[in-house]
Amino acid sequence: MSAFRLNLRDGVGTNLSDKSISFSFDGKSYRGIEGDTLASALLANGLSIIGRSFKYHRPRGVFTAGSEEPNALVTLHSGGRTEPNIRATEVELFEGLVARSQNRRPSVNFDLMAVNQLAGKAFSAGFYYKTFMGPALRGHKATRFWWVCEQFIRRAAGLGRGTTIPDPDHYARMNAFCDILVVGSGAAGLAAARRVAASGVRVIVCEESARAGGALASSPDFIDGEPAREWSADQIAELSAMDNVSILTRTTVQGYFDDNTFFAIERVTDHLAHKDRTVPRQRAWNIRAKSAVIATGALERPMVFAGNDRPGIMLADSARRYAVEFGTAPGRAVAVFTNNDTGWLAARDLAKAGVIVTAIVDVRTDIEASIRVLGEECRATIHSGSAIRSVKGMRGVNGIVIATYNELTGELGADSKTIACDCVAVSGGWSPAFHLTSQQGGKPVWDTELQAFLPGDPLQKWHGAGAMAGEFGLAQAFRSGEEAALKALADTGVAMPKQAAKIGSGPDIDGDEIDYAPAPVFEINSGGKSFVDLQHDVTAEDVRLAHREGFVSVEHLKRYTTLGMATDQGKTSNVTGLAIMAAASNKPIADTGTTRFRPPYTPVAMGAIAGEKYGHLAAERLTPMHDIHVESGAGMYANGPWMRPETYNLPGETVEQAYIRETKAVRAGVGIVDVSTLGKIDVQGPDAAEFLNRVYTNGFAKLPVGKARYGLMLREDGFLFDDGTTWRFDEHRYLMTTTTAGAGRVMEHLEYYRDFVWPDLKVALASVSDEWAGVAVAGPKSRELLKVCVKKCDVSDKGLPFMGLVDGVIADIPVKIARLSFSGELAFEVYCGAHWGSALWHALMSAGRKLDVVPYGLEALSTLRIEKGHVAGPELNGRTTPHDLGLSGMVSSKKNFVGSVLLQRETFSKQDRLQLVAVKSLDGQRIRGGSHLVAGSKDEPGISQGHTTSTCFSPELGCYISLALLEGGYKRHGEKLFATNPVRDAHVAIEVLSHHMVDPEGGRMRG
């Protein structure tokens, strides 16, 4: 294999198997080893440039070995599975994996946009604000200028691109409960999990990576005489076997919410070459824990120096892990630059794995002898009290220039020495990963000794352990893990036997004693571009510029410079940025404060959040007659959650031909339509009449038994809320129908008044939408049809007058028949118990056979009501009042009702309000819904005077028509305007009409 793959042996490549794997990057085929991440495989193949940076298009390489990676972002897969901005450091390699680099044109090695590097000043802090939110520019508002420039800048400055193709995978939502959640399975998490599991409580352990064990996996230490990784594997195996413990690997806890609720994403099949389609791609977990142990470790942070973003520069512990876990040399010759002992440990382990370490550069002069020994072990030259002045090489590192460094003044000496190397392993100390507890509102506290923020006091039931809580080192991790476990057990109320409640001495550890506290050096300021936030290309100078311009609060600094606002949320840059800000303002870091972390911890696929609420797993509501519609060849249409027949197409018919035919058949003869989706609410009680009278605008107090009435409901602000008919079955019993879409909110609305406003009224409400099936029978021959099949009641005009209601029987099915009309024709609605729905449908169809009855769908239903001028959802849009829709006659002046007072507001009686009209196409063109009504030409349409709401072709008028809301529309019948729709490139000449287009006197439906 390549020069970068080390000689794999015991302790080198501990994560790797011996199976070779092929994968592709930017169209070229490469080989890796099972157990590699994409990042380690790319490094092993000698690929150092993985992507281009966000603003300046500088070449960037792998910077870390974990989910905190700011640089090595790639796009995975293709087609509907395309996923941009994925951290190569987290991608487990599998056979056939396809990855591409991002933000490069045309290639990652030669990028035209890299010219942005020369325009560095133009892209400095606050660039967007200064350029586009500023004063007007040559007559253009600055925002307008932004629109022009946006498309170019967005293309130049950006990350990967997603896809518009639907995601073919499915996702699941999970809910879990446990006594104690342990987040992180490193030494501290493991110690805590062992302790709590032994007490028998229910434990869930979440581990972000593929294998539990955290840093133990690459630790050089021995525990109880075993290599740490083997010891941890045994411990995990023991834990996994316990019934009260679940270990979720590849599971990132993303959020910590109220009531000790945690949100986690489990990546189930992402790492598999052959994905089992019967399991979800990812699971989104809601985990409720009585208490939690947070053992999320710490993130190593870099030091800031000129040229610190060059490919080949990475964090020291990550470089060490690439060698130990992945058997990959991060470079041919590695120089270490550090302000703490971590760098020395990395140097020693790199050398032990077979990597050449040329130099160790440490800003400190006072270095423990035991640490200096580590440097001597790897035969590196040691430069203490020194720092990097600059980096040689443009597309990679071919050397560093170092100088003596004064730790107290932060000044570099005039001397310089060049060290040849192609990799710099940098350590600037460690930042505890308390993102979860910070999300909760916990205020981090600066620890001067550790030069790090610690999580601060808990606001909920959690206990920190290990590096997350500032307890660095294995022994401290074990001890703090056990301590946290006992506190968590106390939260759950489990009484511990006295003996068990003691902290043991922990396992026997044989390893290096190192001090994780760094020297307080964050930046080596030698001029030249020094990056703080690698992903958003924020430099140290940007931070100082923001300070000079008056951005002194960290929250402002963050937004102005965009520091920490990229997809990595500044995991490796936040503390450094704050330190530079603090230095600029001459304040201690403790006084500068931190910003609060927000969920999610790492980017989350939208599909995982949507879960089964979207796509083929989404719930669908089917009416009792659904199967008949499908068998009859109806095209089914999603109307909210409901599946409804759109049209019953005859062979060769288009949707438009079908609904025109169906509409004509109803107007000329008879048709039936499934109206089971209407919301239905059973209203009962001695005060039911009074209650209805208060929620409807029109009178309901005197509705006789055996009658139905159309009613309007308002919101309290006077706007229309819903409409429908309510039937009085009995003295104390009504059936209210609502619009299909409004069913849920009307029920909530009524319950609000019943429970909260008028609890003294004796009225009971029950949603019965699913209990009834309903069929509307419409057309001049509808009574004839009913006469064929209805028994035990009179459906003549006398027996069943307009708005009348009778009980009857059709084909042995007990039914309620109301004479209501949505179409404007003589019509009836027949209701029966839902389980009789299909039998009723068949009975009505066969009764109408000789009358040539047609089933009609949603399109014809809509066409009939538009022609009639009946309003529905598009007109009841939350911004219209009864006065706007020609329904003033429905508003009682004799009573007070919900909305009656605010309906009196002056603005609602203005004559220039949008009022309901109809429009018809004069030039044969189709009118689009949502078209604006204008007086001008297509090119100069002028100001919008209104818009179209519900449109169709009207067989009755022989042209395209639409209902519309038009300024002062009632007085504009006969006016000629245009319905313009620039999005659809349509501009239709129209004439304004009264919305009563069919049978305005209502003779047909009353006949």
């Binding site: 609720t261 909530e748 319950e751 909260f756 406003v757 609890p759 009656s900 605010l902």
Partner: protein
């Protein structure tokens, strides 16, 4: 966040629907003052701290309850049923 429904016990907030500020009382039916109705519909104090809210267990038993909640810490202090059956639920 979890709310303790007086009927069903502690349940996830996603089962509930927020019905608004419980301190906003609708004027009596015979009150036709536009100002009073305006205050009921639009005026809200948005307190920083304890707040009384009306919630409905819409995806459960549909009981309405008044939830006293701290808008800063999200601590739920109490959940009391309201409505014609409130007494039986207490």
């Amino acid at each position: 966040m979890r709310l303790t429904c007086p009927y069903c016990g502690p349940r996830d907030h996603q089962e509930f629907t927020y019905r608004g500020d419980a301190t906003a009382a609708r004027p009596a039916l015979d009150n036709t003052s536009v100002d009073d109705h305006n205050a009921y519909v639009y005026d809200r104090s948005n307190p920083d701290g304890l707040h009384r809210e009306l919630w409905n267990h819409t995806s459960g038993c549909r009981t309405h309850m008044i939830v006293e909640r701290n808008t800063v810490t999200h601590d739920v202090v109490s959940c009391e049923p309201v409505g014609p059956f409130a007494e039986q639920l207490k």
